[in-house]
Symmetry: C2
Subunit: 209 residues, 2 copies
């Protein structure tokens, strides 16, 4: 009985999140009253407030779930792929795949930067995760003599900045296609990698795969 109840609760919570996702993507977070989320979910006001504190809380859960997905995807990829150079380039494709598969969420992510401190903190947790992953990979590369001894944080930050920039051009500004977003980010990482990797024959080897 308890597990039936839990799954029913889970279902309601999911339905509310899904309704918010649709409305935030369509009308924007700021222009969506909590009333409309409740109406679209088909549940009552009491149900909404059983699962969420307010509209901001819903946004935070959506962002956290989405950013967890990206972090998990990169973590899984790192488990499958041990080559640090391939990781450096291809982990960005893995991330972009999560963005491409979740267009509504990508649009929300791209638009909510700077809305308020609490949302920014939530985005900051993701940035920190991303920088940690990327930095660790470069650090390993340096310690194993594959990468030059470059300052790590600026490079990891640049890849984060580049991904946010390309996602925004694709989903908000609509200046580039999904394919162009991938090409832009991956091509940049190839150029950057040539500056980072010591032995360029290593790159030629990878490019011929």
């Amino acid at each position: 009985m308890d597990s039936v109840k839990t799954s029913k609760m889970q279902e309601k919570r999911e339905k509310i999140l899904e309704s918010a996702l649709l409305l935030f993507a369509e009308k924007g977070y700021v222009n969506t009253p909590v009333r409309e989320i409740i109406d679209l979910s088909g549940y009552g006001t009491g149900t909404f407030y059983k699962y969420f504190l307010n509209k901001e809380d819903v946004l935070k859960v959506l962002l956290e779930n989405f950013l967890d997905q990206i972090v998990s995807a990169v973590r899984d990829f790192f488990r499958r792929e041990e080559d640090l150079y391939v990781r450096f380039i291809e982990s960005k494709r893995v991330m972009l795949n999560v963005f491409a598969r979740n267009q509504k969420m990508s649009e929300i992510y791209s638009r909510v930067h700077g809305i308020n401190d609490s949302i920014d903190e939530c985005l900051q947790v993701f940035d920190d995760h991303f920088l940690y992953f990327t930095s660790r990979n470069i650090e390993y590369g340096i310690s194993r003599g594959l990468f030059r001894d470059i300052p790590i944080t600026p490079v990891a930050s640049a890849t984060l900045a580049m991904i946010n920039y390309a996602v925004n051009l694709w989903i908000v500004k609509k200046q580039i296609s999904e394919q162009e977003m991938f090409d832009m980010v991956i091509s940049f990482h190839h150029s950057l990698a040539k500056g980072i990797v010591k032995d360029h024959s290593r790159i030629a080897q990878y490019e011929n795969i």
Copy 2:
């Protein structure tokens, strides 16, 4: 007489812009009523509307002036410095200097992305200028055999993304100091340059200057 009148008009317009700059930086663009700009300027409502259509028009003029300053600074630097490699790195320091000297304007620039289409268009004109300058420099470098034949747009876009990211960390998030902002952007460009430049002895030569 006409030139006295013109300079008086110029003075009023400047005073209104200055008042808006102070208020936008302190309270944010969205939270600043046009009334307060008028009051702080010390002129009447009629004077305000003689020079500007509305609050948005004031923001656009402020942004245009600021972004023109950056473009001019880079243009001047390119006139003084012909070495394409030095240009690739140091033009970013020249840009960051304009940001550092105009902290209020940097904060406004960093915060107003995505406010509305008309402001975004204004920011887009700047992005296009920046990408044009940066791309042309890389293009010259490739055509003269100094740089590898890399895809240009992704690299130029990454440097734009990186500058916006670093300026935001410095002036909005306050996570890094002004010096750290410079270090982050310049260090990244050194790492990237190693991937772009064909002859690395050329880099060693520059680093010893």
